[in-house]
């Protein structure tokens, strides 16, 4: 429970995919496209009924928030660095081999925020608006569910389950 680090076990295939997904997420954050709905979801408006207050808040905090998201994503990408060498080539034996990452407790929040933010981006892209907007036939939901599963596992691991 009070161990200094939380363990995350990923097979090579997962690690490589996660590294790619976080990389794509970082690219999205860096684009800072003001018209992108996904970015709006990552920096929501706390004053939906007050245009003036909402503009002031966005001016004061939005860039800063996206910067902190980038810093979080960077923590995750550094931890996933061992998987980068498998991007170009992976043997059948490599693919399902398990790797255990030791995430220091101080970095768990960066992982949680990043995995959750990626789910939010995917949800925006997939148009998930209601709880039941989930089409099991659509393979794009696979990655959304998988990230949710990894997020759940990380929360359990941190709580010591």
């Amino acid at each position: 429970m009070s161990a200094a680090a939380v363990e995350i076990t990923l097979v090579t295939l997962e690690g490589v995919r996660l590294d790619e997904v976080v990389d794509e997420y970082t690219t999205l954050l860096s684009s800072a496209d003001a018209n992108d709905e996904a970015l709006d979801r990552l920096a929501p408006n706390p004053y939906p009924d007050d245009e003036h207050a909402s503009r002031d808040f966005a001016e004061a905090t939005r860039d800063d928030l996206l910067e902190r998201r980038l810093a979080d994503a960077d923590v995750v990408r550094r931890a996933l660095a061992p998987f980068q060498s498998f991007r170009a080539s992976m043997t059948d034996d490599d693919m399902l081999r398990a790797h255990t990452l030791e995430v220091p407790r101080g970095e768990v929040d960066a992982w949680l925020r990043t995995l959750n933010a990626i789910r939010l981006v995917l949800a925006t892209r997939l148009g998930i608006i209601e709880d039941d907007d989930h089409d099991p036939e659509d393979s794009r939901f696979g990655i959304y569910d998988w990230i949710g599963y990894r997020l759940e596992l990380l929360i359990d691991a941190e709580m010591g389950d």
Binding site: L42, P44, Y47, L112, R113, L120, A123, I128, E152, I155
Partner: protein
């Protein structure tokens, strides 16, 4: 009891009614993406709420569509809202209804 060594010779007449402390609230809204366990985790670690309180707030968000997670001065509530946004929760700030 000792007497204060320095007695202020000016009595400031501060009318507290002129600047009423109006409480503000942070409201977290339901969304289909954030996992229940994740929302509880955020309420526990960020606000330091007990697992019971964090869980009942999460359930209120889930079933009632929203829950008030903090009340206090506006500036503090904005800091909390920004932290909620950083965790990906959909939070708004509003003046507490009278």
């Amino acid at each position: 009891m000792s007497t204060p060594a320095v007695v202020p010779d000016v009595v400031e007449d501060i009318d507290l009614r002129a600047a009423p402390l109006e409480p503000w609230q942070v409201v977290v809204w339901n969304d289909p993406v954030n996992l229940m366990s994740y929302v509880v985790r955020v309420f526990r670690t960020y606000f330091g709420y007990s697992i019971d309180r964090a869980t009942s707030l999460m359930l209120a968000v889930h079933h009632d569509g929203h829950a008030i997670v903090a009340t206090g001065p506006r500036e503090t509530m904005e800091v909390h809202a920004q932290a909620m946004h950083e965790y990906g929760l959909w939070a708004t700030v509003r003046k507490a209804p009278q």
